[in-house]
């Protein structure tokens, strides 16, 4: 039974694999093979029993995380961007099918005929009145007295049994098919050039795989592939460009190009400030509230705690919109109150400094409940004897907090704070939904606004570039972000292990 099912699955895998293989989709093919082979091993081998439990998770993990990461690394070393999206082979194919008008142009009128089996027949007539017959591949001259030619009302048509003339709306439906035709004549090619005519054209480019050069057949200028574009010796390029390996150039550009480097530095600094202030302020606030609530004799303690959790529980995208409305410069509640009381209007989200401050305020509101929650937990684990000992030694409340509470809290909370830092570092949703990185910065080389953090900057370079989307550069920046996050996490990991040794 098991074997039978496995056989069926294997058959499907092989069938799909052959399909993918013939279409050159090697990436997908390898994933499919990985899954297929894994499944067989898991079912057939006794030693690989654990694989039966692991395989589903491993497959989605590979397909949707590991493979994208590797692919991302690859993209960061290419010039993938608007204008360079196609593969080189696709571009060559495209250019080789590009035509120029022939030196001695001949125009053919045509009449199309279709058989019942959808076979195409064309009657072409040149300017001298000479008729030709074509099935789309070759051109066959017809003698004026050919029996298949019928003249009626001054126009000549074909009369072939089983074929009917295509006219009117049906002709329009046929046009896409006619457009694909390229009928060779003498030194040129016949291509559709209007609704009612074919024209002689000649191929514009020819590609030589041995020399890797594209030659313009009319001017005999040879184009070499340079930086993802076919470029002549004189520096003339042919659009479109193609993807190509550019080495570490994207990384070098971030640091060496003055313009991009300036954007990077500004965005990076703001990202760090944003993450640090967010964590510091929300932790200070959360800890103070936790101290206030950390009294077992306090009435309604649970009610208070639940109410204070609300900002944490609201989905971030909803809170972000609500705050955006409240900070609205003309109609928001804050400016209405300030306007009524003091006649001032604060540019909450439109001035660079204010927008940054507003974002931090919003993030503090969003994250203080989490800080409060973890502080409460940690506060309860501090033994009372320590406070008593401190009191006996004559320490006041203030001194007890700084010398006993805070150091002990930090031991258990430091790794979590580092985690929060990493989270704020990459808090795309909040930034994007509240300000979308705006206000814009004049003179920025990339779409980097005043409140853009690294991750939102990457997103905008990828998907909202003013001069097109630069995926290669964005991928390179995202790898830098990963390195930073990994460093932060490693420190956090180290610290928690280190502290565990100290504490327990």
């Amino acid at each position: 039974m098991k074997i039978l099912l496995l056989g069926i699955v294997d058959a499907v895998v092989v069938w799909a694999g052959v399909g993918l293989g013939t279409q050159n989709a090697y990436a997908l093919l390898s994933l499919l093979l990985l899954g297929g082979v894994g499944l067989n091993i898991a079912i057939l081998s006794r030693r690989a029993y654990p694989l039966r439990y692991l395989l589903p998770s491993l497959l989605v993990l590979f397909g949707m995380v590991v493979y994208p990461i590797l692919y991302n690394v690859y993209i960061s070393f290419t010039n993938l961007q608007t204008g360079n999206l196609l593969q080189k082979s696709q571009v060559i194919h495209l250019l080789e099918n590009r035509y120029a008008p022939a030196p001695e142009e001949t125009i053919y009128a045509y009449q199309a005929y279709l058989s019942d089996k959808d076979e195409l027949l064309l009657l072409l007539t040149d300017e001298q009145g000479q008729h030709f017959l074509s099935q789309g591949k070759t051109l066959e001259p017809l003698r004026p007295d050919d029996q298949r030619l019928v003249t009626q009302d001054g126009t000549t048509g074909l009369d072939v049994p089983g074929y009917h003339a295509v006219t009117g709306p049906a002709l329009y439906q046929l046009l896409p098919r006619l457009e694909t035709l390229a009928i060779p004549v003498d030194n040129a090619t016949l291509r559709l050039s209007g609704i009612r005519q074919f024209k002689t054209v000649i191929k514009q480019y020819s590609y030589n795989p041995k020399t890797d050069r594209l030659v313009d057949l009319q001017t005999a200028i040879s184009y070499a592939p340079v930086d993802g574009r076919f470029t002549s010796a004189a520096g003339k390029t042919i659009e479109p460009g193609f993807q190509t390996w550019v080495g570490a150039r994207n990384f070098v550009r971030i640091f060496s190009s003055a313009a991009i480097g300036k954007d990077f530095l500004r965005v990076f600094l703001w990202t760090v400030v944003w993450a640090m202030l967010s964590v510091f302020l929300s932790f200070s606030l959360g800890l103070s509230f936790a101290l206030l609530l950390n009294d077992r004799k306090l009435h309604f303690r649970l009610v208070y705690r639940t109410l204070l959790l609300v900002p944490y529980v609201m989905p971030v995208f909803i809170s972000a919109f609500v705050w955006r409305g409240m900070f609205n410069e003309n109609f928001g509640i804050f400016n209405r109150i300030l306007g009524d009381l003091f006649h001032v209007q604060v540019p909450w989200l439109t001035n660079a400094m204010w927008a940054r401050a507003s974002l931090i305020m919003i993030n503090v509101w969003l994250s203080f409940p989490y800080m409060m929650l973890i502080s409460l937990g940690a506060l309860q684990s501090i033994p009372d004897q320590l406070y008593e000992a401190a009191r006996v030694d004559g320490a006041g409340a203030w001194r007890r907090f700084w010398s006993v509470t805070l150091p002990l809290l930090m031991i258990s909370l430091a790794p979590l704070l580092i985690g929060s830092f990493a989270f704020a570092f990459n808090n795309f949703t909040l930034i994007y939904l509240v300000t979308a990185g705006r206000p814009a910065v004049l003179g920025a080389a990339t779409p980097a606004g005043a409140t853009d953090i690294l991750i939102s900057w990457t997103y905008r370079i990828s998907f909202q570039g003013g001069s097109g989307n630069n995926y290669g550069l964005a991928a390179a920046i995202s790898i830098l972000i990963f390195v930073m996050i990994a460093t932060i996490s490693a420190i956090g990991f180290r610290m928690s292990r280190h502290l565990e040794e100290v504490y327990g």
Binding site: Q23, A25, L28, L54, S57, L58, V60, L61, M64, V65, V66, Y67, P68, I69, Y71, N72, I75, F289, L292, L293, L298, H299, F300, Y304, L307, L308, L309, V310, M314, P315, V316, F317, I318, F321, R324, G325, M326, N328, N330, F331, W365, L373, I374, G377, A378, S412, L413, L416, N426, F428, L433, I455, S462, F463, A475, F482, I485, A486, S489, Y503
Partner: protein, 293 residues
């Protein structure tokens, strides 16, 4: 009267001593709840414009809720259903897959186990959204061959979410399985259960709390996820709530404030309905991870 005086004598000092603290706490609660009250007030205010909203409405109306569900340009109900569907399926699938893989890492000893665990730890550090460009291209490629899994499909998005959920949750699961003694399954196997039966019948019921935690964590994550959904979904019928609301507020935010507020309240409330019954698991889970007793 005498009784009241006695009560006052008994409780008065305590109240006075405690009063400042309670007042302070209520001020903090006001800070925490103000935006929520404000948005709720906007959702029942007769005006739909941000500029005319009053905190206490002249009279209460449910018009904005009605608008929200009848506007043909902004299929809010569809967005809500899409979101619940995507988050629900992702959360259930995550629980199943991570229970399986967590169990394997906890119970079986196989070659490459330590390396895989380490690799998993590294991988889950990488925020999936950083590879958004690559994910976009991969889904487009998959979509060429299997349209049901490509760009702009819910299944494709669920697959992406699932991939992102594996690392962290497998770890969580493994940790919990480690705390359950092996002898329980061993006795089941002595009684003739296959390993898989022992896993399903004995282990899964025992680890129900962690299954609930993973379900909530994943549900919350997918429910509020914005960036992946915004890149991978197009066409207003396909959107999730987060992307849809963004789309809704992109233009004329000030004038659509009322219907938006109603949407925010419904979005937040449907989320709370799922979260609140399960919140005690989260709170204990958070503190369990952070505090050493």
């Amino acid at each position: 009267m005498a009784r009241f005086a006695a009560l006052l004598r008994r409780w008065g000092p305590i109240f006075l001593r405690r009063f400042p603290r309670h007042l302070l706490i209520w001020i903090i609660i006001a800070y925490a709840l103000f935006p929520v009250l404000w948005i709720f007030s906007a959702s029942v205010n007769p005006t739909s414009s941000l500029s005319q909203q009053k905190l206490i409405p002249d009279h209460i109306t449910w018009d904005h809720y009605r608008t929200l569900f009848t506007d043909p340009n902004y299929p809010f109900a569809t967005w809500l259903l899409n979101t619940l569907k995507i988050s629900g399926i992702t959360a259930v699938a995550t629980v199943i897959l991570c229970a399986l893989s967590g169990y394997a890492f906890s119970r079986f000893r196989f070659t490459g186990r330590r390396v895989s665990l380490l690799a998993l730890l590294l991988i889950q550090m990488f925020p999936q959204m950083l590879a958004i460009v690559a994910i976009f291209f991969i889904l487009r490629m998959i979509g060429d061959y299997a349209p049901a899994l490509g760009i702009n499909t819910h299944l494709g998005l669920i697959m992406v979410y699932l991939g992102g959920a594996m690392g962290f949750n497998t770890y969580l699961m493994k940790g919990y399985f480690d705390t359950v003694p092996r002898s329980l399954e061993e006795s089941a196997m002595v009684d003739g259960a296959t390993p898989f039966q022992a896993f399903v019948r004995i282990m899964l019921p025992l680890v129900r709390p962690i299954l609930a935690v993973i379900f909530i964590i994943q549900f919350i994550t997918s429910y509020s996820e914005f960036i992946l959904a915004s890149v991978l979904l197009r066409g207003s019928e396909q959107l999730t709530l987060s992307v849809g609301l963004r789309f809704f507020t992109e233009q004329a935010f000030e004038r659509r404030w009322g219907p938006f507020a109603a949407g925010a309240i419904i979005g937040g409330a449907s989320f709370l309905l799922i979260f609140l019954p399960l919140q005690r698991f989260i709170v204990s889970g958070l503190t369990r991870g952070s505090v050493k007793e």
